[in-house]
């Protein structure tokens, strides 16, 4: 406790540029970190977490600048130190683990080459030694055949493994400090467990200090000794993990804590003809079958959650229903009537009835169109609305998704936050006044508070417009909160399906169980217990 801290940040202010204007991103944050200590930084996107994390390396993204305050790393003032000196620190004494390893590994080079770059360029150790060392670290990170995996290219390695490889890379020079920037956000729950465990162990083994940035409380609870909560560039509060979890002081923190409490009552079992029923569908690309004999129904005013990890065939099912991928076998019924397998031959009416909301609002909304057109187009097309009528309809829709019409109607997607974009996605789907909406991972890219907002919205709309939802997700927390029925998929097969309560209460299938157990909980000891439990089996 008494030894002087490794990193001290005082009254740090960082500004970002839009045009010639500089607006504050981080507004006077203090931070101090002792050797071997892990600090959790949480907050929603835009809270300045990453910016702060990078600042700890004396680094500011293009278009950002460190406007005030001081950053002292082990006696070196990172603000005044010459770039060359700062560079010599990065990768060597302060390392960084990025959110998406898939994107942050250079696709042109083998993992091992990228691993060795730091030690060799910084002159820590020669190439041979570095390689040997890499194998060692890969092993410790529990990567499969550590001697070989390094000689693969990033695209040949799965996301979870990449994330671990990147952590290993960060460790290459045995830095004093590592910045983890949402390292597990992009991963499936089951993989997340492994990565979390691996990261935590290695950090402890080397006694490396770390700043762990995330928006997921449950995760940070497992990793951090202390937690600092950020909100729009301000520090909300800081405390050691357990007391913070036990007794959050600030309202905002409390609200964060509350997020996971949202869950709505399961509706009574459905009756009558389902809006959509998928009958023994087998489909795939080329020779391989991605879906094998999949069947399930979706009824009015009910939400069917299709869960499973990436590659389990969730999205493919959606493509079959929308008609993008005509099935090899089986059929899709809409209100008891068989839909043409290919969307090209479906009637406008059929197209209108089934709308889709995508995971990535960024790629799902044409960046060059204004909201007026984005939302208005379906209404114009399907309902033939024009001029005044169209305009008022657009405004209604905006109001419906809780966006102030006058301020938003003429904005471009780029002028919206992630959550707002997703709301536009919803509005666009609603504009067609469909019976079924397919939500493909609609919340997984969002902060939890925002997620909750969206979920609540969807729930409300379902009640008001009695829609049927097909809800594709890998996040069981979401399932818990809004699903009526659950369809669990694995490798293209429906493993288990049934009402939410029943299925969560006593999962019949091993895999379902695995999924459920992998959902992080707020309890700091959850991870240990889980690992222990699994080791026990």
């Amino acid at each position: 406790m008494e030894e002087d801290p490794l990193l001290t940040i005082t009254d740090l202010r960082i500004e970002g540029r839009s045009g010639e204007l500089w607006h504050p991103i981080v507004k006077g944050v203090n931070l101090s970190l002792r050797r071997g200590e892990v600090l959790g930084l949480i907050g929603e996107s835009g809270a300045g977490k990453s910016t702060l994390g990078l600042a700890a390396m004396g680094f500011a993204r293009d278009g950002c600048r460190i406007a005030g305050g001081s950053i002292d790393f082990d006696g070196i003032n990172l603000r005044t130190a010459p770039e060359a000196q700062r560079r010599s620190l990065r990768g060597k004494r302060i390392a960084y683990v990025a959110q998406s390893a898939a994107a942050s590994f250079n696709p042109a080079h083998k993992l091992i080459d990228q691993y060795c770059e730091c030690p060799v360029v910084h002159g820590v150790m020669p190439r041979e030694q570095a390689e040997a060392d890499a194998f060692e670290l890969y092993r410790r990170m529990r990567l499969p055949n550590p001697e070989a995996i390094g000689f693969r290219y990033p695209h040949q390695v799965s996301g979870g493994q990449l994330q671990r490889a990147m952590t290993a890379m960060a460790m290459a020079c045995r830095p004093d400090l590592i910045i983890f920037d949402e390292p597990t956000t992009a991963l499936d729950v089951t993989t997340q467990i492994e990565v979390l465990a691996a990261i935590r162990d290695i950090v402890r083994q080397f006694g490396t200090a770390a700043i762990y940035i995330t928006h997921d409380l449950a995760v940070v609870a497992q990793m951090a000794d202390r937690i600092k909560v950020l909100l729009r560039g301000h520090e909300v509060e800081e405390a050691d993990t357990r007391s913070m979890l036990a007794a959050p002081r600030e309202a905002y923190t409390k609200s964060l804590w509350a997020v996971r409490s949202f869950a709505r009552a399961e509706r009574p079992p459905a009756t009558g003809t389902p809006v959509v029923s998928v009958r023994n569908v087998t489909a795939g690309y080329g020779a391989v079958d991605v879906l094998k004999d999949v069947s399930f129904d979706i009824h009015h005013r009910r939400t069917v959650a299709v869960v499973g990890e990436s590659g389990s065939g969730k999205s493919t099912t959606a493509r079959v229903i929308t008609g993008l991928l005509p099935p090899r076998k089986g059929e899709v019924l809409f209100n008891g009537k068989v839909l043409p397998p290919n969307f090209k031959v479906r009637s406008r009416e059929e197209l209108r009835q089934c709308q889709m909301i995508y995971q990535m609002a960024d790629t799902a909304l044409n960046p060059k169109l204004r909201l007026r057109e984005l939302i208005g187009r379906p209404a114009e097309m399907y309902l033939g609305l024009k001029g005044k009528a169209l305009d008022s309809r657009i405004r209604d829709l905006l109001a419906l998704i809780e966006l102030e019409p006058d301020t938003f109607i003429d904005r471009l997607p780029s002028e919206l936050s992630g959550g707002q974009k997703q709301r536009i996605g919803i509005a666009r789907a609603l504009a067609a006044e469909p019976q079924l909406i397919i939500c493909d991972e609609v919340t997984s890219a969002l902060d939890q508070i925002v997620q909750e907002g969206i979920l609540k919205l969807l729930d409300r709309l379902q009640a008001e417009l009695n829609l049927a939802y097909m809800f594709i997700t890998h996040d069981l927390a979401t399932v818990k909160s809004i699903a009526d029925e659950v369809v669990v998929m694995q490798r293209g097969v429906v493993v288990e399906r049934g009402p939410k309560a029943a299925l969560f209460a006593e999962p019949k299938e091993e895999y379902t169980n695995l999924l459920l157990s992998s959902v992080p909980e707020m309890d700091p000891d959850w991870l240990n217990r889980l690992l222990a439990a699994r080791a026990g089996q």
Binding site: L54, M57, F59, R61, D62, R86, R87, S88, L89, R90, G91, K92, A95, Y96, A98, S100, A103, S104, F105, N106, P107, A108, H109, E117, C118, V121, H122, R152, Y153, H155, Q156
Partner: protein
């Protein structure tokens, strides 16, 4: 690896198709041209009877489709036929000139490619610096001058002072070294003409990537800007760069008529213009096909290279 071979095979087949279309287009076009070989040969002095006689001799009285068919079958048997105007075998006519053209193209490329890539990389490295803007402006100025004008200016500066010859005279005695010396000005002209395009593309391709996460990662690993660009950006920017280089190489082979004229360089371009103006269709066809081949092959090469240099395509999962 095997993927590449199939790709090459397909592309070669498509190339064949392209060549066929071209031969048809060219033939059609030359058919539509007013006047014919006989007229052009006899020029103003032609009288109807002499024309008739000459047409008879040259077999121009055959209908167009028949002549095209004869030509095509000939080519398919590897016989490009005789030049009608000089009645020499086309192979002989084209042979040396093809060599010259290729040599000049290579020469120019050898100058242009390194220069423009270096400039492009540096411009990307020091983007928005004075260097960047200046090199950009210079390059643009260079391409906005017509080729012959660039050539004249070079002649003014480098030839009249006697530093370099302004014309290329090749004899049996000419050694490669002399050749490089004599052909310097034409090569330099072409370099100036193509550099800008390649340089700008290189710069753009690299800058495109600088926003990507792995570049930030590289910087966060404490790599120097130079290393970031060279080792992390360039390998991922290769595809567009390779393509623009290929495109310009194709231009260097097919598009240098003007330079040939100014520097009295015996290349294919001049031959083709002459053949067109003389309606010497077999020659036009032959050269057009050669150019087309160059174009097709270069594009193929570009695609192969960008495949090879892209791990995602080379090493499947």
């Amino acid at each position: 690896m095997h993927g590449i071979w199939t790709m090459i095979r397909q592309r070669l087949l498509l190339g064949m198709l392209t060549l066929f279309i071209i031969s048809a287009v060219i033939f059609g076009a030359t058919e539509l041209l007013p006047g014919d070989l006989a007229r052009e040969l006899l020029g103003q002095s032609a009288t109807e009877e002499t024309l008739a006689a000459l047409r008879e001799q040259l077999g121009l009285n055959e209908s167009a489709p028949v002549r095209y068919w004869n030509w095509l079958t000939g080519v398919l048997h590897g016989d490009f036929g005789m030049s009608m105007a000089t009645n020499k075998p086309i192979s002989e006519l084209v042979g040396t000139r093809l060599g010259n053209t290729l040599f000049l193209a290579l020469y120019a490329a050898a100058l242009a490619v390194p220069i423009s890539l270096t400039l492009g990389v540096l411009a990307a490295l020091w983007r928005n610096s004075i260097f960047d803007r200046a090199s950009n402006a210079l390059a643009l100025t260079a391409i906005s001058f017509p080729e012959f004008f660039v050539a004249y200016i070079l002649i003014l500066w480098l030839a009249q002072s006697g530093i370099f010859p302004s014309m290329v005279r090749m004899t049996e005695a000419t050694t490669t070294l002399d050749f490089l010396y004599m052909a310097f000005l034409p090569a330099l002209t072409l370099t100036l003409v193509v550099t800008a395009h390649m340089m700008r593309m290189t710069r753009a391709a690299i800058i495109n990537l600088l926003a990507s996460p792995y570049i930030e990662m590289a910087r966060l690993k404490g790599m120097s800007p130079m290393r970031v660009v060279l080792r992390h950006a360039v390998p991922n920017a290769l595809a567009p760069i390779i393509n623009v280089v290929a495109l310009n190489l194709a231009y260097l082979i097919t598009g240098v008529v003007v330079v040939e004229v100014v520097f009295v360089y015996p290349g294919l371009g001049q031959l083709m213009i002459d053949a067109v103006t003389n309606r010497d269709i077999p020659v036009v066809q032959a050269i057009a096909l050669i150019f087309a081949c160059a174009y097709v092959l270069l594009n193929l090469l570009a695609d192969v290279l960008s495949t090879i240099t892209n791990p995602r395509l080379m090493h499947r999962k």
